[in-house]
Every structure is written in structure tokens, then in C-alpha cells.
């Protein structure tokens, strides 16, 4: 295997080192990674704390959404039951679905990643701990505000998919729908922030030697999960933005009376919504592929095939969205293709299921609580998968669509594919973060009650659906043979709730996080997370030589704890971790990590306030909080890219690496590039929306403005060149380089803004009104999105000038400018796209 970075891998042979470590280095590590005190519990950023908060919050929302389900099941237990009024029932089923999908399922697996990945990868923490903490606070505040809308009768009531025209102002005139649109948009920001952290973390902070074929399967799953979030979530962000614009300003994207098309919402929503199922499933599958080998004491059968199957699932899941739309009258060829893809996606899922069964057969299964949950989840998921293939067949789907059969199917898939694996993960990994493991006895009770309750609830629901009971009805007439199955489902729901209650009791009795020490490797797990650890993660970062290091390197735990591997100290005196290369995990540089500060918490509070005030249409107050949020984020960024006192440091055994990196090598550049993919996806999908709306009503399309497209494209090209030039100027160095580079970046920002202004003026001069036609609305949406980037570019230009004024712009320190340059170049490209598409298509 050739080296990826020029690093000599024979240097790994120096580890484990011999001899005693110098006195005081362990104390220095403990000091740098000390536990919080007082208010610091809120500003803490270590994954050991934020990860636990995050999982805890997700489970809180699981319980709350579960209570809503119990209320619904109580209402449906008997025909013509008067337990809940119709409007309340509508709010409850909307909130139940929304909370389970957006506030529980995705955050729970993201939280699990934030909690476990650093230890699993042998890192001290993920590369952007403040971003993780910001994501958590944004999610918690936004989620609680969203949930509390129930108590004021303001909760959304249009279903978790919020289809227009039901959610248009005509049929949903209050602010209930706005709560959903702005709340979910805000919470998605948190999910994307977490995804950026996970991608960069998995690819760049692995222990040396952990090549991709030795990457823990859970980390692979989290990597694919995060990649899917980056591609899928922009779609729901755009959809919510468009519907909110329609509701607030009357821009007709979905209003067919004014030429919009409600099917556009369905395309955008399900382009996110179906991959979402796999986004939820893959990390849970990664947890299963980790837990099953440990409880069977056998390596996972077909590790590489399982990874490939997860990758294939990621790809194919983006080709199945329209199977939710088989009944809307799509062209037959489209229906056939989506049906084929929906059947095909079961193949990679099947590969994983067979790998788990083969692993269980190859080893000696222990029916501990995590083992039971893993096997139970497998059984339930297979049952859900089989009904999934049934509804992938178009004629069957036409019959089962919008009936309780689909409700049963989706719950089998999500509970088997996510909830049971999550409980397996909780029982498996709790000893890692708690001084006491959870009770095995109670765990078995929880499993059997949950397993029985699940089947009792959802198995009869298949029949209820086949007998014709539609979804989302608050009651039903007697005499349709739906009484018995509904009553059974309600009984099952309470049995499930009893299991959850028992689990809460188990947690209250035994879960003891944040203290010194933990319960240890009670399941004989083979991954790095089971190395002895503290708040600084591992004492020294090991050289990984196997997929199952603790099984194959018997002295590893002892040597790691004795500081005989990499980074046994903190050479710069602060918090640090090692950044390694993408493919082979070769050491590249030392990443100096931030210490806790309150800025990210304030940023989350102000961002939440901004969205909440937008919901209640207090626009002036919202603008103030937006500015406050920007100010706190600038404060947060101000502390980054600090001067380094020692350009190179020894990370152990005489191996020296730089303590600073910029450009493609740096983690910050990667984070910006991934964030820009999100922006690019939104722009691309806005372009799709433009073409879709044209295809729906081409007769409403007018000619584009006659101004010069070439001038706009020329300005954007000049902006991109200036941005690249500014970065290069700073990298070349020289006394005048900082000022020249800053001015070039500021000029680039100005040119992007000027091109956008010209674009806007051209359409305005042509008389195009966003509220008058779908063309106006679609063009205005493209321009608005670009406007957001122009605004951000302006802030970045200002930020660059401030850094110059404070003397923070130095030739040897170009990381910040490279990130700004990348953003400006992208903004120029996006501006060119937004100008060119509506002028060139469909033509004059």
C-alpha cells in the first residue's frame, strides 16, 4: 500500500514506546480537559457531556411523542369515541409524526455519533466541538418551543408531510402551519451542522493506521448518514422556505389557482422524506453491525459487503421518493422506474440482514439485553421490509395507499430499523459513559414488553388497513369490523408504553454519567471506544492495526493507558487532537481545539428567537435577534485561526507534525466545502422547481429580461478570480500581502453583490412580480437564495477587514482567508447559475 501523504509508515513500528512517561503530563491533560463547574455545565463542549445531553434530549422527545401516540390510540380504541376533539387529534398526529422524525429519530442517531465517534476513532474529540454544542442547543431550544405550541392550540395540524393546498393560507389560516415550516427549517440547520461535524470527524480525525478498511462499521454508517443529510435535507429546507414564502407573501409555488403546482411540494418533500428513512436506518444498522459481532463474539461476516451495501442504500434511496406519489397520476414510465428502484433498495438491506444472521450463526450468541434488542429489531425490520416490497408494487400501493396498512408498514420499518437498534445501543454502550451498567433483568423485561407491545399494536393494523380504514381519521363508525383490531392496537400501545416506563426506571436507578470512571467493557466489545478513557478520551492515541483492535492487539489497552502511543501529552498546553489523512489515516497536523465559551450557546438562543419571532410575524424584533445571532457567531469565529507559538510539535516517538494547516489539508476548508454542497443542493433544487413549474404551466411563462446576461456572468467570473487571487496573494507573502489580499476579497464580495443587483434590476425592469405568476415566484426564489449568499459575503468581507485592522491577517496564516475565498468563489458560481437558468430556459 503506497503512502497517501508521504508519511513513512515504518514510523508506526516505534509504537508502543518503551520507558516511563515524564511526570506531570497526565495532570496537564486532565487540566486541559477538565470537567465543568457551575454555569460551565451549559457552555461545556466536550463530547462526553454534549453527547449525553444530546441523547437525553432525543429520548425526552421520544417519550413526549410517545405520550401523544397513547392519546391518539385512546381516542381510536372505540368507534365514535369522544376522548379527543377532531382539531386536537389533528394536531396530535401531526406533532407525533413530526417529533418522531425530526426531534427524535435523526437527532438520536446524530447524538449517538457525537457521543461515541471520538472514542471509536481514537480522537480526543470531533474537530468542531462548539459546532456540535451549537447544534445541540439549537435543537433543544427549537424542539421545546415547537412542542410547547401544543399547549396554546398553535401546533401544526396538516400532517407531518404538510401537503398543500391543505397547508395553504386558505385552508390553514392561523400560524399553526408556520410553526411547522419555520420550526423544522430551524431544526434542520442543527442536523446539517451535526452532519458537517461527523463527515469531517470520520474522515480526518481517525487514529493513525485506521485505514478505510479498518474503519469501524458504525463510523462508516455515520459517514454515509451524514453524507445523505447533506444531499437530502436541503430539499426540505427549500420546500419549507417556498411554502412559507407563499403563505407570507402570496408567491404561487403550490397554489394551482395562480399557476403553481401542489405536486412540487410532494416532489421536494419526498426527495428528502424517503432518504430520511434510510438516514435513520443506516446509523442504527451500523450499531447493529457493531453490537452483533460483540454479542456473538465473532467478526462481522462480509464487512466489506456490508459497507458497500450501506453505500448502495445511500445511492438508491435517492431514487425512490416518488413511490409516495404513485396515486397522483405521474407518467407511466416514471411510475415504473420508481417502482423498480423501490424494489431494488431492498437488496442492499437484505445483504446486511444476511450478514447479521451469518454472524450470529458463526459465533456464540449471548442473549443479553443488547443481544435481545438486536435480534428483535432484526425480526421486526425484516417484517417491515417485506410489506415495503408489497407497497413498492404499484397496483398494491393503489389499494393500500393512505390506509392503516401503510401506518403498520412504516412503524415496522422504523421501530425495527431504528428504535430497537437504538435500545440495543443504549444497553450496549451505557457502561462506557456510566459508572453502572443498566440492569440486565430489567432490560429483558423492557425488551419482551416492547417486542410484544409492538406486534400487538401494529400487526392488527395491517388488517385494519386492508379492511379499508383510512389514516388520519379521528374516529370511525361502528359495524365496519374495525373495532377489534383497533382495540388490540390500543392495548399494544400501552404495553409498549409500559416497556418505555420500565426503561426510564432502569435509567433513573442505574445511569450515572459525568463521573470519574465507568462500568467498563462488560460486553467484551472489540472497538477503540472500550479502551480506558477519561474526559480527554484516550490517554494516548493508538496505532490501529486491525478492524477489531481490542481482540487482535491484546496489550493495546495497557499500552494506551501507559501513554505509549501518539499524543500522550498536550504539547501546546491546550486541547488538541490529531488530524490524519482521508484514506490511510496518516498523521498530518495537530489540531488545536477550542475551550468552552458562551458564544455558541448565545448564538443558538438568538437563532431560535429569530425563527420564533418570524413565526409570530414580529419581523422587526426578528431582525434584531438575527443581528445578535450574527454578532455572537462572529465572536465565536474571532477566536479561531489564532497565531501559533510552535509551528511544529512532537506527537510522540520523535514524530513531528505541523500545528497549523490551511487549504485542502485543513479541517476548516473541508467544513466549508461540505456546507457549500448544502447551498448548492438548495440552488439545484430551486432550479428543478423552476423547470417543474414551467412544465406544469408553460403558457404562463413570459420572456426573460433583455439586459446583458454576459455582463452579469462577467462580473461573477471576475469575483471568483479576485477571490482566488486574494487567497494566492496572502499565501505568497510579502509586507503588503495582508492588505492586498483583504482588499481583493472585499472587492470580490462587492462584485458578487453588484452582479446580483444587476440581475434583480433586470427582472424588476421587465415587470415580473413574484406574487403574480409561478415564473415570478420561481425567479424570485432563486434570487432570494442568492441574496442570502450576498448578505453572508458582505459579512465575510467586513469580517476580513476587521481581522486586517486587528492585525490577524498574516502571510503564514491563510486558513480564514482560504475559507472566505472558497465561499466567495462559490457564491459567484451560484449567482451565475441563478442568472443564467431563467434567462436561457425555456428561451424567449
Amino acid at each position: 500500500m503506497s503512502s497517501e501523504t508521504g508519511f513513512d509508515r515504518r514510523l508506526y513500528d516505534r509504537f508502543p514506546t518503551r520507558g516511563a512517561r515524564p511526570p506531570g503530563e497526565l495532570e496537564a491533560l486532565k487540566e486541559a480537559w477538565c470537567a465543568p463547574r457551575g454555569w460551565q455545565w451549559l457552555t461545556v463542549i466536550n463530547n462526553n457531556f454534549v453527547g449525553v445531553y444530546y441523547v437525553g434530549a432525543a429520548m425526552l422527545f421520544f417519550v413526549l411523542a410517545g405520550i401523544l401516540a397513547l392519546l391518539m390510540r385512546t381516542q381510536l380504541a372505540l368507534p365514535l369515541n369522544g376522548f379527543l376533539p377532531q382539531e386536537t387529534y389533528n394536531q396530535l398526529f401531526t406533532m407525533h409524526g413530526t417529533m418522531m422524525m425530526f426531534l427524535f429519530a435523526v437527532p438520536a442517531v446524530e447524538a449517538l455519533g457525537a457521543l461515541l465517534l471520538p472514542q471509536m476513532l481514537g480522537a480526543r474529540d470531533l474537530p468542531f466541538p462548539r459546532l456540535s454544542a451549537y447544534a445541540f442547543w439549537a435543537y433543544l431550544i427549537g424542539g421545546l418551543a415547537f412542542f410547547c405550541s401544543l399547549f396554546f392550540g398553535l401546533a401544526p395540524n396538516g400532517g407531518w408531510f404538510m401537503y398543500p393546498p391543505l397547508t395553504s393560507t386558505t385552508w390553514s389560516p392561523g400560524i399553526n402551519a408556520d410553526f411547522w415550516l419555520l420550526g423544522i427549517g430551524f431544526i434542520e440547520i442543527s442536523a446539517i451542522a451535526g452532519a458537517v461535524e461527523i463527515i469531517v470527524g470520520v474522515l480526518r480525525t481517525r487514529a493513525p493506521g485506521m485505514t478505510l478498511d479498518k474503519l469501524p462499521i458504525f463510523a462508516w454508517a455515520m459517514l454515509i448518514f451524514a453524507g445523505m443529510i447533506i444531499i437530502a435535507f436541503p430539499s426540505v429546507i427549500l420546500a419549507t422556505l417556498l411554502l412559507e414564502l407563499e403563505r407570507a407573501f402570496g408567491w404561487p409555488f403550490f397554489d394551482s389557482v395562480k399557476g403553481g403546482d401542489p405536486l412540487l411540494w410532494q416532489h421536494l418533500f419526498w426527495f428528502f422524506g424517503h432518504p430520511e428513512v434510510y438516514i435513520i436506518f443506516l446509523p442504527a444498522a451500523g450499531a447493529m453491525s457493531t453490537i452483533i459481532p460483540a454479542i456473538a463474539r465473532a467478526p462481522l461476516v462480509g464487512y466489506r459487503l456490508v459497507v458497500l451495501a450501506m453505500l448502495a442504500t445511500g445511492f438508491i434511496s435517492f431514487g425512490v421518493w416518488a413511490h409516495h406519489m404513485f396515486t397522483v397520476g405521474m407518467p407511466t414510465m416514471s411510475v415504473n422506474v420508481f417502482s423498480a428502484a423501490s424494489m431494488a433498495v431492498s437488496v442492499p438491506a437484505g445483504v446486511q440482514v444476511f450478514a447479521w444472521i451469518a454472524t450470529l450463526a458463526a459465533g456464540r450468541m449471548r442473549f443479553s439485553a443488547p443481544g435481545l434488542f438486536a435480534v428483535g429489531g432484526l425480526v421486526i425490520f425484516v417484517m417491515g421490509g417485506l410489506t415495503g416490497v408489497m407497497v413498492a408494487m404499484v397496483p398494491f400501493d393503489w389499494q393500500a395507499h393512505d390506509t392503516y396498512f401503510v401506518v403498520a408498514h412504516l412503524h415496522y420499518v422504523l421501530i425495527g430499523g431504528m428504535v430497537f437498534p437504538l435500545f440495543a445501543a443504549i444497553y450496549y454502550w451505557t457502561p462506557l459513559i456510566s459508572r453502572r451498567a443498566l440492569s440486565e433483568r430489567l432490560g429483558r423485561w423492557v425488551f419482551w414488553l416492547m417486542f410484544a407491545g409492538m406486534h400487538l399494536t401494529f400487526l392488527p393494523m395491517h388488517l385494519t388497513g386492508l379492511m379499508g380504514m383510512p389514516r388520519r381519521v379521528y374516529t370511525y363508525l361502528p359495524g365496519r369490523d374495525w373495532e377489534a383490531t383497533n382495540l388490540l392496537s390500543t392495548a399494544g400501545a400501552f404495553l409498549f408504553a409500559a416497556a418505555v416506563l420500565l426503561w426510564v426506571i432502569d435509567m433513573a436507578r442505574n445511569f450515572r454519567p459525568f463521573g470519574a470512571g465507568n462500568a467498563g467493557n462488560v460486553h467484551d466489545g472489540p472497538g477503540l471506544e472500550w479502551l480506558p478513557n477519561d474526559l480527554y478520551s484516550v490517554r494516548s492515541i493508538p496505532v490501529v492495526r486491525s478492524l477489531y483492535p481490542l481482540w487482535d492487539q491484546p496489550d493495546l489497552a495497557r499500552d494506551v493507558e501507559a501513554g505509549r502511543y501518539l499524543l500522550p501529552n498536550n504539547p501546546t498546553g491546550g486541547r488538541e487532537t490529531l488530524v490524519t489523512s482521508v484514506m490511510n489515516a496518516e498523521p498530518q497536523y495537530l489540531l488545536r481545539m477550542p475551550r468552552p465559551s458562551p458564544w455558541h450557546v448565545w448564538a443558538a438562543v438568538f437563532t431560535a428567537a429569530f425563527f420564533l419571532l418570524l413565526t409570530v410575524q414580529a419581523y422587526a424584533a426578528a431582525a434584531v435577534f438575527a443581528l445578535l445571532a450574527v454578532w455572537t457567531i462572529l465572536q465565536w469565529c474571532w477566536l479561531l485561526d489564532r497565531p501559533m507559538e510552535r509551528p511544529e510539535v512532537d506527537i510522540g516517538a520523535g514524530i513531528r507534525v505541523p500545528s497549523y494547516a490551511s487549504g485542502v489539508r485543513s479541517h476548516g476548508w473541508w467544513a466549508m466545502a461540505i456546507t457549500l454542497i448544502v447551498g448548492g443542493m438548495v440552488a439545484l433544487l430551486a432550479g428543478f422547481s423552476y423547470v417543474f413549474l414551467w412544465s406544469s404551466r408553460p403558457d404562463l411563462w413570459g420572456p426573460p429580461p433583455k439586459d446583458s446576461l454576459l455582463l452579469i456572468l462577467g462580473l461573477q467570473a471576475a469575483a471568483a478570480l479576485l477571490a482566488a487571487g486574494g487567497v494566492k496573494t496572502l499565501a505568497r507573502g510579502g509586507a503588503r500581502a495582508p492588505a492586498a489580499a483583504t482588499l481583493m476579497l472585499a472587492a470580490a464580495a462587492l462584485l458578487v453583490a453588484a452582479a446580483w443587483g444587476l440581475d434583480l434590476r433586470g427582472w424588476a425592469a421587465g415587470g415580473l412580480q413574484p406574487s403574480q405568476s409561478p415564473q415570478g415566484a420561481a425567479v424570485a426564489a432563486l434570487l432570494s437564495w442568492q441574496g442570502l449568499f450576498v448578505l453572508t459575503a458582505a459579512f465575510m468581507g467586513l469580517y476580513a477587514l476587521l481581522r486586517l485592522a486587528w492585525g490577524y491577517v498574516r502571510p503564514g496564516q491563510p486558513a480564514t482567508f482560504e475559507v472566505i475565498g472558497l465561499f466567495l468563489a462559490y457564491a459567484a458560481g451560484q449567482g451565475a447559475f441563478a442568472a443564467a437558468l431563467p434567462r436561457l430556459f425555456p428561451g424567449a
Binding site: M333, S334, V337
Partner: protein, 101 residues
């Protein structure tokens, strides 16, 4: 990026094929009904191109694995070979769905 593109090439070919077929189906719905054969022909040509790309990639990956003569093949070679094989089957499956109208 090159190594990722190589390893995941078969899946990318499948994705490209999917987008293409979806686009042809949408264009078919936008244009007069009597030109369906034209769009189906376009679907066939795209399918052949994508299937050819998958087959070529699989052959390249197998040759590389053979040339390395290592006990365990390189991860990306294996991904490329298996992914291309899966992509080939996926393309054929999808092409049939587009043609049976």
C-alpha cells in the same frame, strides 16, 4: 476524490441512469404522445452507455486486483468491482422498467 469516484463509479453510473430515465419520462409527458418511441430509444441508448461504463469499470477493477496479487484486495478495487456489478444489474432492471410501458 479520484479514488472515491473510482470506488463508487458503478453506483454513480446507476444514479446517472436513474436521473436520465426520470428526465426522459418527464420529457415524454411534456411532448406529443406519438414520440414515445423516441424517448424509449433515448432510454435504451443511455442504458447501454451506463451498462458499458459499469462493465468497463468492473473489468478495470478486476484487472487491478489481479495485478496486485495481495492476499486481501484493496478496498476501493473491491468496491469498484462489486459496485459496478451491482450498478450493471440496477441499470438493466431500471431499463426494463422504462421500456415496459
Amino acid at each position: 476524490m479520484g479514488r472515491w469516484a473510482y470506488g463508487l463509479g458503478g453506483l454513480f453510473a446507476w444514479g446517472l441512469h436513474f436521473v436520465g430515465i426520470y428526465a426522459f419520462a418527464s420529457l415524454d409527458a411534456q411532448t406529443p404522445a406519438d414520440d414515445r418511441r423516441l424517448w424509449q430509444l433515448a432510454a435504451v441508448l443511455l442504458s447501454l452507455a451506463c451498462a458499458g461504463a459499469c462493465a468497463g469499470l468492473a473489468a478495470l477493477a478486476l484487472r487491478r486486483m489481479k495485478a496486485r496479487r495481495e492476499a486481501a484486495p484493496a478496498l476501493m478495487d473491491q468496491f469498484a468491482a462489486l459496485g459496478a456489478a451491482a450498478g450493471l444489474v440496477g441499470v438493466a432492471w431500471q431499463a426494463l422498467a422504462a421500456l415496459i410501458v
